[in-house]
Amino acid sequence: MQTFVYERPATLAEAVALLDAHGPNARLLAGGTDLIIRLRDGSARPGVVIDVKRIAELHPAIREDDGIVTIGATAVVADIAASEPVRRHFEALADAAAVVGSVQIRNRATIGGNICNASPAADTAPSLLVYGAVVVAAGPKGTRRIPIDDFFVRSGVTTLGPSELVVAIEILVPARSTGAVHMRRTRRRGHDLASVTLCCSVDDTGVTRLAYGSVGPRPVLVTDETGVLADPDAPDEAKAAIFERMFAEASPSKRSMRAGPEYRLAMLRVLGNRAVRAAIGRLEAKGRVEA
């Protein structure tokens, strides 16, 4: 690994000043489960590495205030999977956080790193899209809020400015009763990114939201408001037609070593069907508890 200058700011203002001063020569380090690998193989060669883990503003406890759950950027996915407000309101995000890598990886991998790395296979992305999460970013001009659907561009690229960093993720607790689930296909548990990821939510008005990843340059969010997918009695042909429309944007790479495009497209439909059923199951279970 090539050497660098290591900076460990204690405040957000210091971190922004460092980013501003060093520009593209600086790289932010959170859990390092993506970045350390790139530093070692030389695909990233920053002159300055800015460790964000000791910035107080980035790691408050996961909290629920006025119907908004806030997750600090450096929250590790192990803690997100175990978080009471996340499990209560955003079960699909808890599902996703629990399947990232292995225990060792989950103890280090942060949610900020997961979305900023912007892998099309990032496990937290589909559920954040489905729940309409908002990315809180700070930069020299202050703080702004970016809807997550406007955040992802393609692998490794987001709409974050060059001197901006992610401070937190905010998610509005759904107003309607909602059941949601995250599913994936992977070659081996504990070691591999997913070949297909998919999150589905169904609410009590019959709106179905799907977000899927690993089948194109960025994860995609689509919505079905016809109520057909959410209707357990709707005929399979009607559902298939809706899935065709929802999956139209999937364009898996032909060159990936993980899985061929035919396999991914076929699995997208399988996961879609399974996830809709599971989400309806969770919605119904909530209805029974609330009733």
Partner: protein, 161 residues
């Protein structure tokens, strides 16, 4: 802190012993444990977070020490495989690995022990499923998975560690 180039002083507690040392900022915790502190029980293998041979506990949680810079551990409490035995006696978990034949070439064993140790601390009575999930980040090229699982289960069932 600012302007820290190339080397940096850190303080870590390793297996209960406080250590103050100066480390290269681009060296991983694994490098420093093995090369600076001569604690070679922790193994270097894939260096990409896939095999778990480099697993150690940092502030009570297992991590792959190949994916963490030593400077990031500044102030932390670290437990390595060398810290599992007490007064020269193997821990019940280590003894179970021997008794169940869970060690073949032994290269993955330190990592398997650290991951099992962490699992049992969090969950003293893990199911087979819990063990498979808890050890999913540790590969064994000799294929001792059944024996490793047996060893962990035997300690769990025994209710002592």
């Amino acid at each position: 802190m600012s302007g820290m180039a190339n080397t940096l002083p850190i303080e870590i507690t390793v297996n209960g012993r406080r250590r103050a040392l100066r480390v290269a900022v681009h060296h991983t915790l694994l490098d420093v444990l093995r090369d600076d502190l001569r604690l070679t029980g922790t193994k270097e293998c894939c260096l990409v977070g896939e095999c778990g041979a480099c697993t150690v506990m940092v502030d009570g949680r297992i991590v792959d020490s190949c994916l963490m810079l030593a400077v990031e551990a500044d102030g932390a409490e670290i437990l390595t495989v060398e810290g599992l035995a007490e007064n020269g006696r193997l821990s019940p978990l280590q003894q179970a690995f021997l008794d169940k034949g869970a060690v073949q070439c032994g290269f993955c064993t330190p990592g398997q022990l650290m991951a099992s140790h962490a699992l049992l601390e969090a969950n003293p009575n893990p199911s087979l499923d819990d063990i498979q999930e808890g050890l999913a980040g540790n590969l064994c090229r000799c294929g001792c998975y059944v024996q490793i699982t047996d060893a962990v289960l035997s300690v769990a069932e025994g209710g002592h560690r």
